[in-house]
Structures are given as structure tokens and as C-alpha cells.
């Protein structure tokens, strides 16, 4: 509950949160992707870049990984990777 309030505040103030913080159904625009290893390169290649619109679809029943929709396809990412992706409300 408290977290949701803070998230709402962040959104209202235009601050970004990470992809891992999105709720199912929420849309956002990627603002940056941190990290520089293989995982990050893969994310870029799959289209997760600054300016890409993503929609959080669902979380797996066991809590991890997440499923997002971007550029018309569905991608599954672990929360660890999703946390590297900063997003802002569209």
C-alpha cells in the first residue's frame, strides 16, 4: 500500500521507476537501460531501448519472471533484468 503510494507519487512527479515495478496492464516508455554485459546487449537487440513503449502483461504465478509486450511481441524477463530497465509513464 505504502509502496503504491510512493509509486503514484513518483509517477505524478514524472520520476521513473523500473520495469519490475510496473503492475499488470500498465504501459510505460523506456528511459534507460543500465548495465553493460551480455544481458544488456540482448535487451537492446530485442528492442528494449530508450523510447520503446512497453506494456507489462503479467507476472508468472511463482512471482518471477515477468511478461511484457513490446513492438507487437511478448517477451519474458526475470525481475533481475527488468530492474535494469528504467521506465516512465507515457
Amino acid at each position: 500500500m505504502i509502496k503504491a503510494l510512493f509509486q503514484a507519487r513518483d509517477h505524478f512527479q514524472g520520476r521513473s521507476c523500473s520495469l519490475a515495478d510496473l503492475r499488470p496492464g500498465q504501459r510505460a516508455i523506456v528511459t534507460s537501460v543500465t548495465g553493460s554485459g551480455l544481458a544488456t546487449q540482448r535487451l537492446y537487440e530485442m528492442g528494449i531501448l530508450e523510447g520503446t513503449e512497453v506494456t507489462m502483461v503479467r507476472v508468472a504465478p511463482l512471482g518471477d519472471p515477468l511478461e511484457i509486450r513490446l513492438m507487437g511481441y511478448l517477451l519474458s524477463l526475470r525481475k533481475a533484468e527488468a530492474a535494469m530497465i528504467q521506465v516512465a509513464s507515457p
Binding site: G37, L38, P61, E67, Y73, S76, R78
Partner: protein, 720 residues
């Protein structure tokens, strides 16, 4: 070039995963395909012949990739084949690029890289029906202009547009042209740095690199191009490369720069030619997904499917397996009747025929497992299974993709190890293969059943049957041991960056029966061709060890007994007993049993006697053999379960102590639970991993674990 000459040319089929490449390849080549491996790597090599109007084209089906930034072995092979003319003896005349119409933006990322290869290309647009479902509009003719290549629309699953594609392939080969489409521009800084690097490389000799390959070396940190660069130019090369990257210190990274550049290029190419509705249309696939990945329903369906698959491998294959065993047993008796008693007969009947039967008996399980796996893969469910199980498998150090191979290991390890090729990451694949044998397979069950039936009392503990509980413990033992084993493997032999799970969830589609059945058949055939010979060889070696020296003195001794009984007109049963005793004496005198008795002291702390040791040794090629070996060693002619149980219970050491008690029974069961006693598993593991060191490692660590486990159980058990 005369019209009567049939010209051969070679094209490569490239594209993202899940775009229907296999269907298209099948549609183009029919049954003219061969599957193998690229030399030196465990990457599947698929080549087929396409008969066009004017020629026969050799088509190489390259593994599906998202980008040519090679990190995994699959990608490294694709890059070699595409970038180095003549790599793996496959010089290419052009490319057939398969694109998914519903996913065009991401598919064109790869296309933009392929353009740089300067090979003639024809683009194929598949899955237009899916695009239509999503209300996507594409202007094909305009797209063709933008891409600078002919675009052929096909429906690979329905096999439409294939003839048009064949014509396009002929056109491509008759008039090879490079696409006039502009390449993505990386900017002046990048280009000049790359040129400087190329010049530096040229000055040092060795293989000449294309511009594209140099780009890859610059951008892909830790990738295959970098590895090759350092291999060719040594520590100086490493420094020079680092210096070049330093110069190009773009924020946040070169990889980001490349992606930005390429996707901007894609957007520009698709401008006005490709449109997607602002609000994604909810398709049937989405609705199905909502159910199949649902918290509750999703799990129910998953568990149901897994149970069905398991049941199928376990029980549906049983009639077929029994039929095969029966057939070979009949064949053995039939041929045996024609041969005189002696070495040749035993070799043929007990060695070769039994051995071949022992190989073929795996076929039903392999075919059934791959029927399921191919079906689930083709329809798109496999990715969801990995999605559901990832968290659980992550706790064990693996990813969701390992779940199905490991689960099927409870039925039989051989097809499961083959099924682990669906795991792209090599380290995860190896780790999975190395622990699959710990999953108690169906061959262990007769051992458990026999020993539990004979020695575990039928009492109830907390409302549960102790016998059932013991069985369950043996099964879960493997799983619990597997977790620390994976942990250790990942920190020692399989050390490396833990790969992320970045997994596309493809649109659901009706699986193509052709694709599914073909993949199933290919796996069955691969097993027979690659593993069959070696398994048979091992079976014969073991036969020899258990047969020779087969001294005639023993035969003479029993012949006398038999003659006496015949004179006394004794019953057939009495004569059968003599036969059984004779068989037992032969085996007891065999090299195998001699070896067993020799190493017996090492197994005494486990509570075993020489018969158990010999039986265990004999069952190293195949677990079930222990039942028949023990049967023979106890002179039981036909090894019926009840008579064997009695024999075990009655068995005594020289000093009168019973050989078997609960701790001994448990120690044997634990040994079987943890030991890799299956030549077929070892052979298949060797083939799938590409090296004999992995089965050797698996065999060693499991034997050690089994010994220690059995020792601990016996020592602790006898003190309780």
C-alpha cells in the same frame, strides 16, 4: 552455361526463431534433408535440396537467431557460415531471409545486419495471417523497394507461396544483385575507428576480416568475434581492441548505439509501409495465454500436461517395449535352436540379439517423448512452460527450460538428455544433462520393487505405508542431491556468467503434424545411428565378461548330474534345477564374477556380499540386468520375482549371518538411485555434449556419490 547442365547453387535460410523456418525448409526441400552437426560444435547442421525450375539448390537451414552478435555456439556458427566464405565448406551464393510479418520491426533488426554481408538476398514474409489478426497493414510492393530485395509472401504452414519462392530463388541466382537499400549509419567516428582497426589488422597478417566482422569485434563485448580477434592477434590485439573501444566511449555503450541506429533504420524503412494499430488487438492467442499462464488454471493445465506426458512415456511405451523384448527373445530362441551349443550361439543369442533388442527397446520412449516435446514446441507452449517453472528451477541453479527434460528423466534418461537440446545456453544444457541421470528412471523401479517387497515391512507410519514412503524417498533422493550438484558444477566446471532468461513467447499456433512427426522421427533415427552401435558394443563386451572363460570342467560336472537324473527318470523340474545350477556355476566362474569377488572387500563396508557386487557390476551397462544376474547367481533358472525374493531372504554369509537386512537393502537401493548404470545414457550424453569428458564426469561423480551414500546408509542403518 548450357541449358542441359543442372547447376547447383547454395543458399542459406536465415531468420529469427519461431518464424516458421522449419516449416518453410520442409516445404522447400520435402524429404531431401540431412541432419548432422557442424564439426567441432554441438550445433545442428541441416541441409536440404530444393528443386527449382532451373536447378537444384542446396539450402542450409541455419539456426534461428535474433542478431549476429555471436555469444552462443549457435550464433557463432551462423556468423561463420555467413561471414566467412567457405566456412564449414559451405560457400554461399545468397540468402533467403524469413521474416515474421506480425513482428516485422524486430525481424528487420537482423535484416539490417544481413545487408552488411553483401550477399544477394530474397526476403520471405511469413505469418501474414497472424499479422492480419493483429490488424497490421503491410504494403508488400513498397516494402520490397524499401528493403531492396524481392519480397515473397508465403504461408509456410499451409505451404502456399512456395512455388513463387522457388521462382524467386532462381531469379536470385540467375541475376545476383546486392540490395540497393542504404545501410544503417553508425556515424563518422565509429566508421573511422573501424577503418583504423581494419588497417591495423591488415598490417599484421592472418585471416582477412570483413568490415562487418570488425564491427562485431568492436561492439560485442565478450562475444565470439572478440574471442577470435584475440586468438588471432594475441595480447597486443586485446589492447588495441580495448583502445578502439575506449575511443568510441559512447554513452551508454556501443551496443546501445548499434541498437539505436539499427532500430532507427528499421523505423525509417517501415515508414508508411507498415502500420500497427495504436491499441494492440486482443487475439485468440492472447486469450489462450491468459488461461495457460493463469495463477491457478495455468498451473492446473501445466500439471495435467506433465502428468499426461509422463504417463505416456511410462505406460504407453510399455506395450511397445514389451513387444520388442518379446520379439527379440523369440528371435533369440528361434535362432538359438538352429545353432549348436557353444560360444557362437551364446554370442549371437545372448550378446548380439539381446544387445540389439536392448538398443531398440529405447525407441518407443524416445519417440513418445519427442512427440510431446515437438508438439509443445511447435504450438508455442514450451516457452510458457519455461515461464511458469523458471522461479522454481532458478532455486536449483537452472532455468525454466530445464524442467521438462528433467521431469522426463524420471521415465528415462536417454530421451531426456536428447531433449535438453532445447536449452540454448550451453552451460545450462550441460548442467541439466549431468544431473538428469539422478532422476530415478523406470529401470531402477524393478530394483526398488524387489528390495522393498522383500525387506521393508508393510507397516504404516503416520498413516502412510512405509513401503510407499521408502519408494518415494528413493525418488526424491535424486532430486535433492541434484541441487547441490548443480551448485557445485556451476562454481567449478561450468563456471561462467549466469545467463539471463530473455525469452520470446511466440504466438500460439496449430502445430504442423509434418514438423512434429518429422522431428520425432529425426530424434529416433539420430539415436539409432549415433548411439546404437556403441551400446551394442558395450552389451557384447559385458556378455563376454559374464560368459568367459566358460570352462568345460563345469559343463562336464553338470553333464554327469544330468545323465544320472535322466537314468533315474527324474522329473523335468529336477533337470531344470540342474540346468539352473549349471548356469549359475558358469557365471560364478566368469571373469565378471571373479572381478566382483576380487573387489568385494571394497564393498563390504556397504554390507554387500560378492553376489550383490557382481550383480551391480553386471548392471553397469543397464540397471535391470541385476535382476536377471542375481537370478542366475542364485540358481533360479527363470528369476521369478517371488523366488528371487525368497532366495535373497534366505541368502547367508559363510558364518551364517543373513546377507540381506534392511540396511543392506537400503544401501543397494541408494546405490542404484545415485549411480549412473546405463551405457545408453553415457553414450547419448557424449553425443549430445560433443565430448566424452562429460559422461566421464557424470559417471565418476555419481559413482562416488552412490558409494558414499550407500556406505553412509548401511553404516548408520546398522547402528540404529
Amino acid at each position: 552455361m548450357t541449358a542441359t547442365l543442372i547447376k547447383t547453387a547454395r543458399l542459406a535460410l536465415v531468420g529469427n526463431p519461431n518464424v516458421g523456418k522449419t516449416s518453410l525448409f520442409n516445404a522447400l526441400t520435402g524429404l531431401n534433408q540431412r541432419v548432422g552437426n557442424y564439426s567441432g560444435v554441438t550445433v545442428e547442421k541441416k541441409i536440404g535440396q530444393v528443386k527449382t525450375a532451373e536447378r537444384t539448390v542446396e539450402l542450409v537451414d541455419l539456426p534461428g537467431i535474433y542478431s549476429l552478435s555471436a555469444h552462443s555456439p549457435d550464433e557463432a556458427v551462423v556468423m561463420s557460415v555467413l561471414c566467412e566464405r567457405g566456412a564449414y565448406d559451405l560457400p554461399l551464393d545468397g540468402l533467403v531471409v524469413l521474416l515474421d510479418a506480425s513482428n516485422l520491426e524486430r525481424n528487420l533488426y537482423l535484416y539490417s545486419q544481413l545487408l552488411a554481408l553483401r550477399l544477394p538476398m530474397v526476403a520471405v514474409l511469413n505469418m501474414m495471417d497472424v499479422a492480419q489478426d493483429q490488424s497490421i497493414s503491410i504494403q508488400v510492393a513498397a516494402l520490397s523497394e524499401r528493403l531492396g530485395a524481392e519480397v515473397v509472401v508465403v504461408n509456410a504452414a499451409k505451404r502456399s507461396g512456395i512455388d513463387a519462392l522457388r521462382l524467386a530463388m532462381d531469379r536470385l541466382l540467375n541475376h545476383p544483385q546486392l540490395s540497393p537499400a542504404p545501410l544503417p549509419e553508425f556515424g563518422h567516428d565509429f566508421t573511422s575507428e573501424r577503418q583504423a582497426l581494419s588497417a591495423w589488422m591488415a598490417g599484421r597478417g592472418g585471416r582477412v576480416w570483413s568490415d562487418f566482422q570488425v564491427e562485431r569485434a568492436l561492439i560485442d563485448q565478450g562475444g565470439d568475434a572478440e574471442r577470435q580477434f584475440i586468438q588471432q592477434f594475441g595480447p597486443q590485439g586485446r589492447e588495441r581492441l580495448a583502445a578502439a573501444r575506449q575511443q568510441l566511449a559512447v554513452t551508454p555503450s556501443l551496443a546501445a548505439h548499434e541498437a539505436r541506429t539499427r532500430y532507427a533504420w528499421v523505423a525509417e524503412r517501415l515508414e508508411g509501409v507498415f502500420a500497427r494499430p495504436a491499441e494492440p488487438v486482443r487475439t485468440l492467442s492472447d486469450t489462450i495465454d491468459a488461461v495457460l499462464t493463469h495463477r491457478i488454471f495455468g498451473f492446473l493445465v501445466f500439471v495435467g500436461l506433465m502428468a499426461l506426458m509422463f504417463q505416456a512415456i511410462y505406460s504407453w511405451s510399455t506395450p511397445a517395449m514389451d513387444a520388442i523384448e518379446g520379439l527379440f527373445s523369440q528371435l533369440g530362441s528361434w535362432i538359438g535352436a538352429y545353432l549348436p551349443d557353444g560360444v557362437l550361439r551364446s554370442l549371437i543369442v545372448d550378446g548380439v540379439i539381446a544387445g540389439v533388442g536392448g538398443v531398440l527397446v529405447f525407441l518407443p520412449q524416445i519417440l513418445i517423448l519427442f512427440l510431446f516435446v515437438s508438439f509443445l514446441e511447435d504450438c508455442g507452449y514450451m516457452a510458457r512452460a519455461a515461464f511458469l517453472m523458471d522461479r522454481l528451477m532458478g532455486q536449483a541453479g537452472l532455468s525454466g527450460k530445464s524442467f521438462i527434460p528433467m521431469l522426463s528423466g524420471f521415465a528415462c534418461g536417454v530421451p531426456s538428455i536428447m531433449a535438453s537440446r532445447t536449452i540454448e545456453n550451453p552451460k545450462d544444457r550441460l548442467a541439466t544433462m549431468l544431473v538428469i541421470p539422478l532422476m530415478s528412471c523406470s529401470a531402477r523401479l524393478p530394483v526398488y520393487t524387489l528390495l522393498i517387497g522383500a525387506f521393508i515391512p508393510a507397516v504404516t507410519v503416520m498413516g502412510l505405508d512405509l513401503r510407499g514412503l521408502t519408494l518415494l524417498t528413493m525418488y526424491t533422493l535424486g532430486v535433492f542431491v541434484a541441487i547441490p550438484v548443480v551448485w557445485v558444477l556451476k562454481r567449478t566446471v561450468l563456471k561462467g556468467e549466469a545467463p539471463p532468461l530473455i525469452l520470446e513467447l511466440p504466438t500460439y499456433k496449430w502445430p504442423s503434424p509434418r514438423v512434429v512427426l518429422q522431428r520425432m522421427w529425426q530424434q529416433g533415427r539420430a539415436f539409432l545411428e549415433q548411439a546404437g552401435g556403441i551400446i551394442l558394443a558395450v552389451a557384447i563386451v559385458v556378455w563376454a565378461a559374464a560368459y568367459f572363460p566358460h570352462r568345460s570342467e563345469i559343463g562336464e560336472r553338470f553333464a554327469q548330474q544330468r545323465a544320472q537324473l535322466v537314468e533315474q527318470k527324474a522329473e523335468a523340474a529336477a533337470i531344470a534345477q540342474v540346468d539352473a545350477a549349471e548356469a549359475s556355476a558358469y557365471v560364478e566362474d566368469s571373469y565378471l564374477a571373479r572381478f566382483g569377488k576380487a573387489i568385494q572387500p571394497a564393498f563390504a563396508p556397504l554390507g554387500w556380499d560378492w553376489r550383490i557386487t557382481t550383480g551391480v557390476l553386471a548392471s553397469f551397462p543397464a540397471r535391470e540386468v541385476i535382476i536377471s544376474t542375481l537370478g542366475t547367481l542364485y540358481s533360479l533358472g527363470g528369476a521369478e520375482e517371488d523366488s528371487l525374493k525368497h532366495a535373497l531372504k534366505a541368502s547367508r554369509h559363510e558364518d551364517g549371518r543373513p546377507v540381506y537386512n534392511i540396511p543392506v537393502a537400503l544401501s543397494v537401493m541408494v546405490f542404484f538411485a545415485l549411480c549412473l548404470q546405463c551405457a545408453s545414457t553415457l553414450v547419448v550424453m557424449g553425443r549430445e555434449s560433443g565430448s566424452w569428458k562429460w559422461p566421464l564426469l557424470a559417471f565418476t561423480y555419481m559413482t562416488v556419490l552412490a558409494y558414499v551414500g550407500a556406505l553412509a546408509v548401511y553404516q548408520l542403518g546398522s547402528r540404529l
